[in-house]
């Protein structure tokens, strides 16, 4: 999957998983930080995003540092998914 397509798909999935009813995909800057700044997400949201990666993409992110890097932004999530699904393939 192309990264741009994946980024748009992730935005929709994040809005649904985190109940961000007031946002549309266009409101989310893929380069902006997900936590504190940007969307202002918190630790409960982090759990939901980890679950999203597991459920939607079959990826278990168990290493804390890897998890922190993967959840930096929507772009970082897309990069993590692409690199790990390519490696598996």
């Amino acid at each position: 999957m192309e990264k741009t397509t994946l980024v748009e798909q992730l935005k929709t999935q994040i809005i649904e998983a985190l109940l961000l009813e007031d946002l549309t995909p266009a409101d989310i800057d893929p380069a902006a930080p997900l936590f504190v700044e940007g969307l202002g997400l918190d630790s409960i949201d982090a759990l939901e995003l980890i679950l999203l990666l597991e459920k939607q993409y079959g990826l278990r992110v168990e290493d804390p540092k890897e998890r922190r890097d993967a959840l930096q932004s929507v772009n970082a999530m897309a990069d993590y998914i692409l690199s790990h699904t390519k490696n598996e393939g």
Binding site: A17, L18, L19, L20, G40, I44, E48, L51, E54, K55
Partner: protein, 332 residues
């Protein structure tokens, strides 16, 4: 033990969230009375709002209304009574457990499904970092929360306690009931203190709960409170329209309350639910402060023009019987 009720916030099937206790909304013949909800965005931080289920919104908004009505006074402790708690969210959580075969269950339905979630959320919102308790005792849940508050105030552990009674309509629970009556829901929060805050403060003189009591528990309770029946300015009764349930109230009307005692009912205004006595307490407090009960609540008018001392009697499915004695602050 007693406490002063210094402010209230009530979300109910009437327009009480606007502090309108006229109770004029016609609820005749309705099977379910849903709460009329305020615009939550004016009462709850939008960041917190997004993860809240309906009962959390009801509870948090009612608590905030109470604090607003108290002029922003900060409570030291929070105590909540709830019969069914977050039962609708529990259903969502259990369904997700089954659907995912216990693997990868989302945390939000779990957090929202706990019995003490409302008290926790209110405490988080209002930054109450001390005593925090939730009582779940079917139809006596709210009264147990009140008793807890009265004891804390008596022991002088805390000076301002936020006490709530909250329940949300549950379709599954309703379907399980063998006797169908008009079902309701609501969230009522009260700021209780050891001192009155103003001329609209109401004194909660006594609270008592009974399980399957004998015949004369009300006269005995009134005797303990040195309150002869003819000193009551009104009796607020939890009649719900079910002949079996109402027979107990009818017997009292015939045998205990003299014809001059005004009789007030409230479940035709808010519906039946385990913590409906929170609605009754708010109604009584408002009537004592305003000098009259709203006409739609009056079952039998009586002599006294202004209610100063009111007995609230409710029973839930003839198991939990509860009495709350409230009076104008400053009465001897």
């Amino acid at each position: 033990m007693h406490a002063y009720l210094n402010a209230a916030g009530l979300i109910s099937p009437q327009r009480t969230f606007e502090n309108d206790f006229s109770c004029t909304l016609n609820t005749q013949g309705a099977a379910i009375l849903p709460a009329i909800e305020p615009d939550y965005k004016g009462l709850i931080n939008p960041v917190q709002l997004r993860r809240m289920s309906r009962i959390l919104k009801l509870g948090t908004a009612a608590a905030q209304l109470c604090i607003n009505n108290a002029g922003g006074r900060q409570p030291d402790a929070i105590i909540v009574g709830t019969g069914l708690a977050c039962v609708n969210d529990l259903e969502v959580f259990l369904k997700s457990v089954i659907e995912t075969d216990e693997q990868g269950v989302s945390s939000i339905p779990f957090i929202n499904s706990l019995h003490n979630t409302v008290a926790a959320q209110v405490a988080r919102t209002l930054k109450i970092q001390s005593y925090n308790n939730t009582h779940c005792h079917r139809g006596a849940s709210f009264e147990n929360a009140l008793l807890d508050a009265l004891m804390l105030l008596h022991e002088k552990e805390h000076r301002q306690i936020l006490v709530g009674g909250i329940d949300e309509f549950s379709r599954h629970y309703y379907n399980l009931l063998t006797t169908k009556v008009t079902s309701g829901e609501g969230a009522g929060f009260f700021l209780l203190s050891d001192l009155p805050a103003g001329e609209n403060s109401v004194k909660i003189s006594a609270v008592r709960t009974f399980y399957a009591p004998g015949e004369d528990f009300i006269p005995r309770f009134l005797a303990e409170q040195h309150t002869p029946v003819h000193h009551l300015d009104a009796a607020l009764l939890g009649m719900n329209g079910a002949p079996g349930d109402d027979a107990l109230y009818r017997r009292l009307i015939d045998c205990l309350f003299p014809p001059g005692t005004p009789l007030i009912t409230y479940k035709h205004l808010c519906g039946e639910y385990p913590t409906s006595s929170a609605f009754a307490l708010a109604l009584a407090a408002r009537a004592i402060a305003a000098g009259a009960f709203p006409p739609p609540a009056i079952l039998r008018p009586g002599k006294p023009a202004t209610p100063h001392k009111v007995l609230i009697y409710n029973h839930y499915q003839n198991c939990n019987h509860t009495l709350i004695l409230v009076e104008k602050a400053g009465l001897m």
